[in-house]
Amino acid sequence: MSKAMLNLQAVDKFYNPGSVHEVHAVQGLDMAVAEGEIVALLGSSGCGKTSTLRMIAGFEEVSKGSIQLAGRDIHRLAPAKRNVAMAFEGYSLYPPLTVQENIAFALKSQSLAKDAVARQVAEIAQLLEIEEVLERYPSSISGGQQQRVSLGRALIRSADLHLLDEPMGQLEPQLRALLRGRIKHFIKERGLTAILVTHDQTEANALADRIAVMEEGVLQQFDTPANLKNRPANLFTGAFIGEPPMNVFDAEVRSEAGRLVFGLGGGVTLDYAENEFSLALRAALLKKPQVTIGVRPHAVRITDEGAKAEITANQWLGDQTHIAARFAGGAIVSVEHDRTRYAKGETIGVALASEDLHVFDTRSGMAISHGGALA
């Protein structure tokens, strides 16, 4: 990976410091973004992702820590001096200007020739499918169109960093899928560095090279989409990433006659040959007999053998089936690609392969192992 374009070091954000309403919105955030990389800040609302974005843009003061962009300390600079472009969640288009002028306006400080501006605006309008509304005013176009104009106004600028706050929240699904591809191509082609804030996993997975998962102001994991899915650092990321969410059970681990046995609730046990787990992992697991295991719904296999479960719901979603069953004193969800005939109340067997098992420390939530090897 090339050199770091953006570097956040131990960044803290307090709102209403010193008062009874003090909120520690971002806590000790360390994050480095490489040049030409697309990073997504992913999390539920109130997790600190937007605060982080606004601190980078300069609309919120950094309470503690520092931010470097392209080798400069920027956290004390005025927004105008940071060389950052941003698309706002609320669009923030200038009402007295047409769509065309709104987009061209972003190029004003670059003092380009008139025809160069027109060419760039036309190009970005084509990319975002807003050519027909270029002459209209923001108040007379739809929310989705306004959002694309706002996105265009940010992407057209040449800046060290492009910040995109929920850039596609208002778009229809088909258009969103189309634009995701185009925007990613546009950013990559020009070698732009971008950070997008979103609560939509699909969007983060599709656009970002790496995803920073945040919760309650703390960065939970900053990794590639594949690693977030296959090697979640803790229980939170494990449960947060993936749809439907990971199945989670508390378990007790013991060694029995050359086999490793996980005792789940309701008398259900899962036992595996010891050699399916590395030696180091076995040692670690037997030292910590209380663990939490997680299995992705896509990895839950329904068989005739295996631990028994009772079907509680069978939902066909048009392209996959979600089967929910009562299992080990809790619930388990399995995803099948085709329609299935299981009826409510029917008993099935559930098989969980050792390579699909994620084991977490129950107390700290930190991952211990993924699929038989130490995390």
């Binding site: 843009a57 300069g58 950052v84 609320g90 923030s92 200038y94 004003k108």
Partner: protein, 285 residues
């Protein structure tokens, strides 16, 4: 609204006419009075039939008041000029001070900002005389009594809170991100204020300025106490028509017509802004 029966339409028309008649009648009557001599005004029973005369207007413009007993000088045109100067001057000063202050109150929630804003508003609560008596003593000591500057300063008690509170509401209606978008494109705070915030709050600023102008124009007590004849506005100047030989109703009426003309013209011209300004945020552009 589009689907009203003829009966409804008729009733609506009658109701509106009644309201207009009720509010416009005094003005109509004043205009009639201004075109009559004192004798025709005071005859009993009153009649709308008379021979119109412009003597009252001529007397006011030339400054020569002829009653049936004696001739005397009046300075009404000077009063009119004073009114324009004082009102326009105070509104200009209030806009210059109040608009940036309103922006600060709208955008920056600093410690005590609400208290300061409320204190400014509270100037409007105090009975004017309570403020004026001590103020007239101070003004005499520091040489501000009977000066335009002193009066414009005191007029800020009327104009500044009005402009501050109305314009603040307008600034609060503008999304801060709109300014952020402009600032992040490489523009300073000041140019953002000038190029984005001011134009967008334009209607509100115009409405506040107009209202402040009208309030300043109609003020009576400040100038009565703090200024002598040559600095007094029309509201105080009208007292001159109460003469030893009786009240000159015709001239008073003509003076009133002349003195409400500027504000009436302004209000008619900017009616839409005024309504928006008064309903403060309920109407969004």
């Amino acid at each position: 609204m589009d689907h009203m029966s003829p009966v409804e339409k008729g009733l609506r028309g009658i109701a509106l006419s009644a309201v207009v008649l009720f509010f416009m009648f005094p003005i109509f009557w004043i205009v009639l009075m201004s075109l009559q001599t004192n004798e025709t005004i005071l005859r009993s029973p009153p009649s709308m039939v008379f021979e119109p005369t412009f003597r009252n207007y001529i007397a006011i413009v030339t400054g020569k008041l002829d009653s049936n007993v004696a001739s005397m000088d009046i300075t009404f045109m000077r009063n009119l000029w004073n009114s324009i100067l004082l009102s326009a001057g105070s509104v200009a000063v209030a806009l210059l001070l109040g608009v940036p202050a309103a922006y600060a109150f709208a955008r920056h929630k600093f410690r005590g900002s609400e208290e300061v804003a409320f204190t400014l508003l509270s100037f409007r609560f105090a009975p004017p005389l309570l403020v004026l008596l001590p103020l007239s003593l101070y003004f005499q000591q520091i040489g501000l009594a009977n000066t335009y500057i002193g009066l414009i300063w005191v007029y800020q008690l009327i104009c500044l809170p009005l402009i501050l509170w109305i314009v603040r509401g307008y600034f609060e209606d503008i999304s801060p991100d709109l300014e952020h978008a402009y600032r992040i494109a490489g523009h300073s705070w000041l140019s953002t204020f000038r190029r984005i915030a001011l134009p967008l709050a334009g209607p509100g600023i115009a409405a506040a300025g107009l209202l402040a102008f009208i309030f300043a124009w109609n003020n009576f007590i400040f100038a009565l106490v703090l200024a002598s004849a040559d600095k007094q506005p029309v509201t105080v100047g009208a007292l001159a028509f109460v003469t030893a030989s009786g009240i000159q109703y015709g001239q008073i009426a003509a003076a009133i017509v002349l003195s409400i003309a500027p504000t009436l013209a302004l209000a008619l011209y900017a009616q839409r802004y005024l309504v928006e300004g008064l309903s403060l945020g309920a109407v969004k552009g």
